[in-house]
Every structure is written in structure tokens, then in C-alpha cells.
């Protein structure tokens, strides 16, 4: 077959992308759960028939899923080959949520559908959706203290939920009997399957129009070119070894920090080799990370650095990840993993940023807050007579960078979901916020400073409840870069009967009892500073003080800027003097 011309490639690339974007869209529009319909905690894509490698994935998918679905689809293909699950038929859809089989946490449920052309599997269409509950010890699934996966919920190996287009009611009833608020799940299941069917229709149209062989040849060529494109981006990096690290406060059970050690080697043939040697061993609590999520975290970090490279297996080829076997970044059954997608993934990304900022300081920011800020409150509302579970997520500061200060209250790096409005939360749950504010002073000092975290405090109005937290970055703040200071670490205070209680693990705690009048106070991390703070433009520091971001005292101690209290202007001479003195001291 003659080589595919560049225009056909462009057209087919756009066509495949469109198929995935429409799947994303169908899933979100038809899904019942707000976590999918509003927060887009889902992803859809096309995967190869041979090994499940990524052909195209929707642009609107949650970043943490960039690399997991190909692993998941590959597992299903292997299971079929080995006879570990039933062979596929046209119209079948497999369901799987086993984290160790190419997953994340149990709540992320994957569907995979073989796509047939002329009696043969041409490719796979797969998607993943975060279900609001999957059973287990804690509503919502984010346990802070599980010690085995069984405590985290129902675990499904790859089984056919749909057989030749019809749902298997027996498998459905097993699922139904094991999860909370089960009656609403049927809406999500229908939406998740509908997305795959829409993908199937649209892909059929594409193949009918351009021909199976042309599309297949284009997919192969696009994969090669994506690799070329990634290598072209890597080419600008000076060969060498770049080191980074990140720390998790604790695993939620043993109160000791976990270390992610990372070295990134730029090779002469324009690959990046990621080595996690020296990272902590597997942990007792739920902060273990399955291999697919470890890989995905590296991919998503690189995609944040080079956002223009389309998603495909080719783009991942130059990113070589050495096996982290023996560390907590390659969790094996039955290690608990519920913190892996929301928190550990973000620490892995932070380790990548902290290494890469030395390699390409113009493209990488200082560390972002990087916590999903999960806070769950479950209780009984005597006002409505109903049980409830409230989820609060929150953002934090982003890192300073070569161009600007970091943004304030940015989204978790692995997510794209918005936080809920205070007014809506108060309408639905028996709580009242007393504060929802920018966390002053939390941005790490730097030539460009980190963005600010969030401070909120809420009061339980009625009844009693139990609060659980899975956050991070409470022990050390998000890292500054190139001389910048760390952002402020996060903190949680539970105010019961006027007495402040701080969880021993700082950011992780399960089942803190609350009664009416008790309060929960959360401060989220600020972003890391970038470059030496004493090089920050004194006028920018003055503006920060005017806006109340820092106090006058902080302007002096953090940035070496003296503000004349009478004129309210920068005292130039004393600033120069102070900066010289502080530099020397440092």
C-alpha cells in the first residue's frame, strides 16, 4: 500500500478525535451522577485490537486517565487470549474495576467494547467513569485507613455486563446488591454503554468513508508521527540526569512520610527515562499506587508540560518508565489503593515537575498544590429525616513560572472538576460556611510567587455526622523551584465544643464525630514560588501587600521589601540594604 499522504492523515486524525469527543459528550450528557455529568470524571477512547494501545482519546477526559485505559484494555485482551474471561461477541461490553488490572481506584469503572468490521475485531472502544459509590467501608470509597482492597469496595474482574447488546441482569444484580444508592446507577450504566455505541456508529461512518485499510495505515503512521513529535519536544532538553522528589504526608495508617524519588534521564536518542528507584516500599494504608496509575501520572505530567501533542500511544513511546517493582508505586493485591488516583498520582506528577523544571525552566512551573482536598461528611439530618453524604473538594495555589505568578485556587492537576458552590451545598446539606476565603500568605515566595490556597470553615447545623479527610501536602508545602520558597502546607482543624482537634496524620483522618455547632476548618496549600524571592519586583510585592495577600512584615521577611508605613510606598534604599543582608545570610 502506498504511503498515506499528510492531508489524509490530518483528516483521519481529526476524525478519530471527533469520535472520541462525541463519546465523551454522550457519556456526560446522559450520565446520571453529577460527578460524571457535571465534573466530567470520565474518559473515552479508541484502542488497538492487538494490544489495547491508545489510538485516540477524548480531549475532555479527566487527565488522570490518559494512560490507564490502554492498560485496562490490554488486560482484557490478554484475559481473553488466556481464556480467563469469555471470548468476545459483537455487541458485548466488558466491565472491570480491578485496580491491579490497569486501573486506578475501585470507583473508576471501565467498560470495553470490541468493535467489529467484517466479522473481525478492528479495535476496542473503552471508557471509564467514576461511580459515586462502589461499596466498601466508606460511602464514596475514599477510605483514609483501609489496609486491604476488600475494605475499599466491590472488585470486578473483566466480565461481560452486556452480551450481544443486552445487559446481563444477573451481573447487574450483583453490582446492585453491593453498592450504595444503587437505584441511580442504572442511569450511569446506560450512559456509559450509550457512549460506546455512539462511538461505534461514528467510527463505522469514518471507516465507510475512508476505507478500513487507509484508516488502519493512518493509525500506524500517526502513532509513529506522535512519537516523532514527542521526541522533537524532548530534543530541546540538554542530555543529562535530572532529579526530583515528592513526599506524601503518610499512608493514613502509619504516620510516616512516603517518598517518591525520581531521576529523569534525557538520552541521546531523545527519550526520557523515568526511574523511581529509592521510593518508599509498599505501605499499609491506602496510599499505594497501581502501576497503570503510576504510568498515567508520568504521562499527564508530561502532557501538562507539552499540551499540544495529541494523545496516542506513540506520544508515550519516548517516555520510558522503569519498573517501580518493590515500591509503593507498583501496588500488588491486596494492598489498599483508594488514595492512588486522587493524591499519589499528583505527588508523582510533582516529582516529574520538580525534576523537569531544571531541564526546561521555561516550560515547567514550581509545584502546584496538587491535592484533591477530599472531605466527606456523612450523617443524619433531623431536618429532612434523611441520611446524607456530602463531598467537598477544593483547589490550591499553582506554582510561579517564568511568565507569571501561579493562579489561586487552581484545580487538582489530575482533574478538571469544579468545586461546588457554597450556596448549593448549604441548600442540600445541614451545614453553614462561616468563611470561604483566599488563604493569605500561602503562596510560596519567589521571583514569581505561588498562587494562594483556600481557607474555609463550616459548621454542622443539625444532628450528628462523621467527617473523613483524604488530602495531602500537610507536612511539607508544594515545592518552590529555582530558588523559590515552598507554598504553605495544608491543614485541617476540627473544632468540637470549642476545642481544636488536629488529626495526627495532618491531612488524613477517617470518621471524626461531629455534633451540631461543631466546625471543620480547612486550609489548602499554596503553590511553590519560582526563582529567588529577592529578585521579585518590589512594586509587585507592594501590590501584593495592598491586596492583602501578604502583610508588611511578610514583605520584608519573605521578599526583602521594606514598605514605608507613612507613604505606603516601597522604601528603595532600605529594600536594597535588606535584600543584600538577607542574601548574605542565605
Amino acid at each position: 500500500m502506498k504511503p498515506i499522504d499528510a492531508i489524509t492523515l490530518t483528516v483521519i486524525q481529526a476524525g478519530l478525535q471527533q469520535v472520541c469527543d462525541e463519546m465523551d459528550h454522550t457519556f456526560s450528557r446522559a450520565a446520571f451522577s453529577p460527578i460524571i455529568s457535571e465534573a466530567d470524571d470520565r474518559s473515552d477512547g479508541i484502542y488497538s485490537a492487538e494490544d489495547g494501545s491508545l489510538i485516540a482519546q477524548g480531549i475532555g477526559g479527566l487527565p488522570v486517565f490518559v494512560g490507564t485505559m490502554q492498560a485496562s484494555t490490554r488486560t482484557i485482551i490478554e484475559f481473553i487470549r488466556d481464556g480467563r474471561c469469555l471470548p468476545p461477541d459483537d455487541g458485548d461490553i466488558y466491565v472491570v474495576n480491578d485496580p491491579y488490572l490497569g486501573g486506578t481506584h475501585l470507583m473508576d469503572v471501565r467498560f470495553a467494547m470490541p468493535f467489529y468490521r467484517h466479522g473481525e475485531i478492528y479495535c476496542w472502544l473503552s471508557n471509564i467513569g467514576h461511580w459515586p459509590d462502589i461499596g466498601g467501608a466508606v460511602p464514596g470509597g475514599f477510605s483514609a485507613s483501609a489496609t486491604s482492597v476488600e475494605q475499599e469496595g466491590l472488585r470486578l474482574p473483566p466480565v461481560k455486563l452486556f452480551k450481544k447488546g443486552k445487559m446481563d441482569s444477573e451481573i447487574y444484580s450483583i453490582i446492585y446488591s453491593n453498592i450504595r444508592v444503587a437505584e441511580q446507577r442504572i442511569g450511569d450504566i446506560r450512559a456509559q454503554a450509550a457512549a460506546l455505541r455512539v462511538g461505534s456508529e461514528r467510527l463505522t461512518e469514518l471507516l465507510d468513508r475512508y476505507g478500513d485499510e487507509t484508516v488502519a495505515a493512518s493509525i500506524a503512521e500517526l502513532r509513529k508521527r506522535s512519537a516523532d513529535q514527542m521526541r522533537a519536544s524532548i530534543r530541546g532538553i540538554a542530555p543529562g540526569v535530572y532529579r526530583g522528589a515528592a513526599y506524601i504526608d503518610s499512608d493514613g495508617v502509619v504516620n510516616e512520610p512516603l517518598t517518591i524519588a525520581l531521576s529523569v534521564t534525557k538520552t541521546d536518542d531523545d527519550n526520557l527515562v523515568f526511574d523511581f528507584a529509592g521510593s518508599s516500599p509498599p505501605c499499609l494504608g491506602p496510599m499505594n499506587c497501581v502501576l497503570a496509575t503510576t504510568h498515567s501520572s508520568v504521562y499527564l505530567a508530561i502532557r501538562h508540560i507539552f499540551p499540544d501533542i495529541p494523545l496516542s500511544a506513540g506520544a508515550f513511546e519516548p517516555l520510558i518508565i522503569k519498573s517501580p517493582a518493590g515500591t509503593f508505586l507498583d501496588a500488588q493485591y491486596p494492598r489498599p489503593v483508594s488514595g492512588c488516583a486522587a493524591e499519589v498520582s499528583q505527588r508523582i506528577a510533582e516529582a516529574v515537575f520538580s525534576a523537569m523544571v531544571h531541564a526546561i525552566p521555561d516550560r515547567v512551573t514550581a509545584a502546584p498544590a496538587g491535592s484533591s482536598g477530599n472531605f466527606a461528611l456523612g450523617g443524619h439530618d433531623p431536618g429532612t429525616g434523611r441520611e446524607y453524604v456530602m463531598y467537598q473538594i477544593s483547589g490550591g495555589g499553582y506554582g510561579g513560572n517564568i511568565e507569571t505568578d501561579g493562579i489561586t485556587n487552581g484545580c487538582s492537576t489530575i482533574g478538571i472538576s469544579k468545586s461546588p458552590p457554597v450556596e448549593i451545598t448549604e441548600q442540600v446539606f445541614p451545614v453553614l460556611f462561616t468563611k470561604y476565603a483566599l488563604r493569605e500568605g500561602s503562596g510560596g515566595a519567589g521571583k514569581t510567587r505561588g498562587g494562594f490556597g483556600l481557607t474555609y470553615e463550616l459548621e454542622l447545623l443539625r444532628g450528628s455526622a462523621r467527617a473523613s479527610f483524604v488530602m495531602d501536602h500537610g507536612r511539607v508545602g508544594p515545592q518552590g523551584a529555582l530558588g523559590g520558597s515552598d507554598g504553605a502546607p495544608g491543614l485541617i482543624i476540627v473544632r468540637r465544643d470549642g476545642v481544636d482537634y488536629r488529626p495526627p496524620h495532618i491531612t488524613k483522618k477517617q470518621d471524626v464525630g461531629l455534633k451540631a455547632g461543631d466546625r471543620v476548618h480547612v486550609e489548602t496549600p499554596g503553590g511553590g514560588g519560582y526563582g529567588p524571592p529577592f529578585e521579585r519586583n518590589p512594586q509587585a510585592v507592594l501590590t501584593d501587600v495592598l491586596l492583602g495577600y501578604y502583610s508588611t512584615a511578610q514583605a520584608a521577611s519573605l521578599f526583602g521589601v521594606e514598605i514605608d508605613p507613612r507613604s505606603g510606598l516601597v522604601h528603595e534604599d532600605r529594600t536594597a540594604e535588606l535584600r543584600a543582608r538577607l542574601k548574605q545570610a542565605a
Binding site: A6, S37, N409, G410
Partner: protein, 692 residues
């Protein structure tokens, strides 16, 4: 001559629509009595838009004193906002919540990439907190501290604020604190620029409501000054009547009241085009349209069903700037004539997202542009006529453009300049078709059930190719594609929209309350219309309800047959609409009534569009309308293609493609295999693929 017509537009005969765009100010004067239409295109004056407006009237040769009604579409507020040339705003808000409009809802500007910035409309030191707090039920938890309000007002005045926002939590549920604080402020504040959060948007979500109110306050003085200045200038010219301003909801409002809700004008530019589309298509019996307005830097797409443009309450005009008031749901696609074509690191052709904008612009504009754009590709392939481009500063030769394509593409893609130009159009059309498809699918529609209404300078150049890509059977190119927005102004009705939150389970809803809300909305709307100087020929009242399933967030809007609606009707209307949209029935789940809405529309006297192309200028045969025959590239080959002057075409013309229609402000391409026909309203209907 007596120029003082009685100011009754029901009997009025001369209506002027004038729309200020980024490059041109467009004018249309429709004189029903004389049966004449005057149109004009004058360069926009960016610093003071009113100059361009006055220039347009002057150039038209039509005395403003002889015009009965001027309807004006302005981008004064849009530009002020996007360029942040806004007035100084102070905010008074609930203690503990002054940072709501700065924190947003934990987002970042793009899904991937951690760069970017965001500056709130009201700077932090001008956001002051006072003691007060409502609960979600509307019950007062902390009473308003009036002396703190007074102190805050004084402090913000002393800080030099020109306008004021009062934004309290849950004010949509109980506005008494906001209203009282506004009363106190009004005693002290030297002008009327006080915006309360609940008055613009009576809906929960403190961030979106706060930003909407802040946007309103930030552009209010600017719009007010602009309108007053224009009023003085028009009076000087002999027009001493009220004029109407186009709003983003697709309706118009008296210039005397417009600045009160200035935020509603921010998206008025695209809205007027959509209104013109609905109006034009209705006259030829078409009710379902996708509007496709392609300009130099971007393309606007909107859906019209049953002759009604879809309306959205949730428009975000740029990153982290939501304006949640009812506005025509226009989706902007980042592709226009100035989109730059290049080859990326993967060796693939890429069109956009970078744009040459209007400066330096496409190479063919001769303003210093050096990178190939969509417009340049159209020119190379013979679709555009180099001699007739409107925006050219220094003439650029075709060989220069060819050289730029060769330089950019030939080596890397193994394509000569002309093949590359054709590939650029193919990729650009595919991209725009994809975007249009997503816009319609996202709103629950299949594009094949619509016709494509093409306007804007570049819309008719691409429309037929895009329609083919989407499987859309028909393209409607209106008589004057380049001044569609001005026509939209000339034909738009008076309109007032109201939204009130209910937020109860449908089966627990207090029907009395719903009826009261609707009645109150209706009354407010009728009052507002009564205050307008322009008298409508008819008043239409449309009630609707926004509903969703409990536990879910997709809001579905259903039209209500009357304000005396019962619960069973609401339930079944909702279920049908939900099924229509998502193809799913969920009888086991309870429905929630989120809000009830009313639109009060003052229908203006019908405006005839038949004379947009004067009958006198039309020739009796197609042959007589022929300007030239030139080679144009289609599907890899050059075709000797007839080029017709649009205004000369016989009204009942039938043209088999390939052909090009040229007119002052737009060029229409009819592809081989397509057939174009004229209709009695002066439109051209392209039937895609009908000759094959």
C-alpha cells in the same frame, strides 16, 4: 419638511439598524413607504464607536432626522470588558466571603498546561465585608449591620470607586439585606451605578452571580456615557427621539434603560446576527437553522428551532468570566479567515488555533502578514477576487502569496502551493464542521435536521463545503450576508427576560407560589415594555420552567402553555423534553423544579426585507449578470468558473455549480454538483449535491 414624526413606531416607516463590528460599522436603513433600502459599510472607530456610527449615517446620504427609529448594536461593553478598560468598582459582601469572585470554582484556563493568569474584575482591596447572613432557606441568621454598610460605602467612595456591587449570600432566596444595603448606599452614592446581585440573576451560585453583578457594574458607566454621547450627537443631527440598543438576549431595550442592566449587552454582537437569521428564514418558511457566521478571527455558531434562537443562562465570555443572564446561545469557534495554516512537529498540516487576526492579518491584506491563512488559500484558489477585497491596505500579488505557501508547505508536505491551499481549506472546513457538529450534538440535535444559514464576510465562502461534510442538505445565503447584524438590529423585538429560583421537588412544589412568580414576572415585563418610547404592535408572553431530575444537574427548559400550569403537565412536559434530549426515560426518579422564567416580547412592526437587493438592478437573464469567467480550484482541478454579480441576478435564478457570486460585502461559492436557486426574498438557497 416636518421631521417630527409622531413617535409611534407601529406606524413608523423608516427604521435604521446600525451595528458596530471589529472592523466595520454596518448600517441599513429600511424605508417601507418608499420601498427603498440604503446600506452602508464604514470603518469602525475603535476609540469612540459613536464617530463611526455618525460617519455611517453621514455616508448613507440619508438624513437622520428622517429616520423614525434607530436600533443600535454596540460592542462598547464587550470591548471594555475584554480589554479591561472598565470603571472602578467596589463590592460590599457577606463577612467571610469577599474572595468568592477571585477564588472561582477551582479551575485552570486549559485542561492541560499549568500556566495562565486570572485577574478579578473587582480588586481585592475594594471588596469589603459586612456582618449579615442569610441561610439557604432565606431565614436571617445574622441581621444586616447597617452602620457597617455605611462605613463600607464611604470607604469605597473615598477609594475612588465609580460603581458599586452589593452581593450577599443567598440573596436570590431572600433579597431583603441586599435591597436594604442598596437603599443605604443610594443615600450616599453620587450616581445610580449600584448593582445588587439578585436583581440581575435570581439564582443560586455565589460565584457566577457575583461575577455577573461585577461585570454589570464595571461596564455600566461606560455604556451610560457612550449612549448619552451618542444621543447628543444624534440630536445635533436632528434625531431627537429615543433609540433602541441591542441586548444579548436577542431583543432590544430603550437606550434610556439599557445601562441599568449593562451586562446584558456584552454578548449583543453575535445575538443580532442570529435574530436576523431567524427573521429572514421565517419569511421563507424555514424554522430549524444552524447559523454560521464566519469572520476574520472567529466563527459564531448558534441553533434556531421553531424560529426561536436557543437561549442560555450560562455563557462564559472568557476564562473565569461567566455572565449568567439569559442570552442567545452563541458558540464561538476559534477559526476565521485569519487562522494561520502551518505544519507541526509531527509533519501534519494544522489550521489554527493561531490567528493573524486583523493585524497583521492574512498576507493578502497587505498589512505585514507573512504566514498563510484561510483567506490567502481562498484567494490562491480563485474563490476570492484579489481586486475586490475590502480590508486591503497595500496590494499583495498572487505570486507573493503563492511563494508563502510554497515556503511553508512544499518541502514538508510534498505539495505545491495550490495543492497545499486546497488542503488548508479541506482541513479548515473539516475542523469547522466538527465544531458545528459538537455544538448541535451538545444541544441534543442532529445537524442533518437543519439548514445552514451562512453569513459574515467569509461564511458563504465555506458554507456549502461544510454543509456537505455535515450532511446538511441546504444552505441559505441571505441577500446581504455582510450586514446581517445590522439587519438583526433593524428587525429585533423589544424583550425582557426574568428568571426566578424555585428549587423544590416537583411533587412538593407550591403551585400558588409558581403562579405568583410567573404573574409577577409578567407584570414586571409589561411595565418595562410600557415605559419604552417605542410602542409594539403586539405583546407576547412566554413562560418556561427549568427542571432536572433530583440528584442530577442537567437543566431542561420546557415552554409552559400558560401561567396556570398544573403539576401533571409540568411532569409530562419535562419527561418528554428529557427523552427528546437524552433518549432515556427515568420514571423512577423524581423531578425537581429549578426555576420559572418569563419572557415578555414587544413585537415590533414587521420589516420588509424584500428590497435588500433592489429589483431595479436585477437583470433579466443569468448571462447578463456574468462579470467574468476565471479559473477556480475544486477537488484537485481547475474549473473555468463563471463569476456573477449577486445584485444583478434574476430573482428566480437557478445556477448549477461551479459558480461564484460576488457582492460588496461577501463572496458565495457554489461547488460543482451543487445547485443554487434564488427565492422571492432575495436569498440564495444552495442545494448541496442535488445535481449529482
Amino acid at each position: 419638511m416636518d421631521t417630527r414624526f409622531p413617535h409611534d413606531i407601529a406606524a413608523g416607516q423608516v427604521v435604521a439598524g446600525i451595528d458596530v463590528g471589529g472592523t466595520f460599522t454596518d448600517l441599513i436603513i429600511i424605508d417601507d413607504k418608499a420601498g427603498t433600502v440604503v446600506i452602508g459599510k464604514t470603518p469602525s472607530t475603535v476609540e469612540d464607536q459613536s464617530k463611526g456610527v455618525l460617519n455611517a449615517f453621514r455616508d448613507s446620504g440619508y438624513p437622520v432626522s428622517a429616520i423614525d427609529l434607530i436600533v443600535h448594536g454596540t460592542t462598547v461593553t464587550t470591548n471594555a470588558l475584554l480589554e479591561r478598560r472598565i470603571s472602578k468598582v467596589g463590592m460590599i459582601t457577606t463577612r467571610g466571603f469577599r474572595d468568592v469572585i477571585e477564588l472561582g470554582r477551582r479551575t485552570r484556563p486549559t485542561p492541560y498546561g499549568l500556566f495562565g493568569t486570572f485577574t478579578p474584575i473587582v480588586p481585592r482591596q475594594l471588596r469589603l465585608e459586612v456582618d449579615e447572613r442569610m441561610e439557604a432557606t432565606g431565614r436571617v441568621r445574622t441581621p444586616l449591620d447597617e452602620s457597617q454598610v455605611r462605613d463600607a460605602v464611604e470607604a469605597l467612595l473615598a477609594a475612588g470607586c465609580e460603581s458599586l456591587v452589593i452581593h450577599f449570600l443567598h440573596a436570590y432566596k431572600n433579597p431583603s439585606h441586599e435591597s436594604r444595603a442598596a437603599e443605604i448606599a443610594a443615600e450616599i452614592w453620587p450616581n445610580a451605578y449600584i448593582t445588587t446581585g439578585h436583581s440581575l440573576l435570581s439564582e443560586a451560585r455565589e460565584y457566577e452571580r457575583g461575577v455577573t453583578a461585577s461585570v454589570n457594574a464595571s461596564v455600566q458607566p461606560i455604556l451610560d456615557r457612550y449612549v448619552e454621547n451618542l444621543r447628543r450627537e444624534l440630536e445635533r443631527g436632528g434625531y431627537d427621539r429615543d433609540f433602541l440598543i441591542m441586548n444579548g438576549n436577542g431583543g432590544t431595550i430603550s437606550s434610556r434603560f439599557v445601562s441599568r442592566e449593562a451586562a446584558k449587552t456584552v454578548m449583543s454582537g453575535p445575538a443580532s446576527g442570529v435574530i436576523a437569521a431567524a427573521y429572514t428564514a421565517a419569511k421563507v418558511g424555514e424554522e430549524r437553522l444552524i447559523t454560521y457566521d464566519m469572520g476574520g478571527t472567529s466563527t459564531d455558531v448558534a441553533l434556531i428551532r421553531n424560529n426561536k434562537p436557543l437561549v442560555s443562562n450560562e455563557i462564559e465570555i472568557e476564562y473565569a468570566m461567566p455572565i449568567h443572564v439569559p442570552m442567545v446561545d452563541v458558540h464561538t469557534v476559534g477559526a476565521g479567515g485569519g487562522s494561520i495554516a502551518s505544519v507541526n512537529d509531527a509533519g501534519l498540516l494544522q489550521v489554527g488555533p493561531r490567528s493573524a487576526g486583523s493585524r497583521p492579518g492574512p498576507i493578502c491584506y497587505g498589512r505585514g502578514g507573512t504566514e498563510p491563512t484561510i483567506s490567502d488559500a481562498n484567494l490562491l484558489l480563485g474563490r476570492l477576487n484579489a481586486k475586490k477585497l475590502l480590508a486591503v491596505e497595500t496590494a499583495v500579488s498572487v505570486p507573493d502569496i503563492e511563494a508563502a505557501f510554497t515556503r511553508t508547505f512544499t518541502e514538508r508536505l510534498q505539495l505545491d502551493a495550490y495543492d497545499a491551499a486546497e488542503a488548508v481549506l479541506r482541513v479548515a472546513n473539516l475542523k469547522m464542521a466538527g465544531a458545528i457538529r459538537m455544538v448541535s450534538v451538545a444541544r441534543g440535535n442532529d445537524p442533518r435536521d437543519f439548514i445552514l444559514f451562512a453569513f459574515g464576510g467569509a461564511g458563504p465562502l465555506h458554507a456549502a463545503a461544510i454543509a456537505r461534510e455535515l450532511g446538511i442538505p441546504k444552505v441559505l445565503v441571505p441577500a446581504r450576508p455582510g450586514i446581517t447584524n445590522a439587519i438583526g438590529c433593524a428587525v429585533a423585538d423589544l424583550r425582557h427576560d426574568f428568571v426566578s429560583t424555585v428549587n423544590t421537588l416537583l411533587r412538593e412544589t407550591d403551585l400558588e407560589q409558581v403562579r405568583d412568580l410567573l404573574a409577577s414576572q409578567r407584570r414586571q415585563g409589561l411595565d418595562a415594555i410600557a415605559k419604552e418610547a417605542v410602542r409594539p404592535v403586539d405583546v407576547m408572553i412566554e413562560h418556561s420552567a427549568d427542571m432536572h431530575f433530583a440528584g442530577q444537574t442537567h437543566l431542561i427548559r420546557v415552554g409552559l402553555p400558560s401561567s396556570e400550569v398544573d403539576l401533571e403537565t409540568l411532569q409530562s412536559l419535562f419527561e418528554d423534553a428529557y427523552f427528546q434530549r437524552f433518549r432515556v426515560r427515568l420514571p423512577e426518579v423524581r423531578a425537581n423544579l429549578a426555576s420559572v422564567n418569563t419572557s415578555v416580547v414587544g413585537v415590533r412592526k414587521e420589516v420588509s426585507l424584500e428590497n435588500l437587493i433592489p429589483a431595479a438592478g436585477r437583470r433579466s437573464s443569468l448571462q447578463e449578470a456574468l462579470v467574468e469567467t476565471r479559473p477556480v480550484r475544486f477537488d484537485g482541478g481547475w474549473h473555468d468558473t463563471p463569476v456573477y454579480q449577486r445584485e444583478w441576478l434574476p430573482a428566480d435564478v437557478r445556477i448549477a455549480g461551479p459558480a461564484i457570486l460576488e457582492q460588496l460585502d461577501a463572496t458565495t461559492v457554489i461547488n460543482p454538483g451543487d445547485v443554487a436557486e434564488g427565492d422571492p426574498q432575495g436569498n440564495i438557497i444552495i442545494k448541496v449535491g442535488s445535481s449529482t
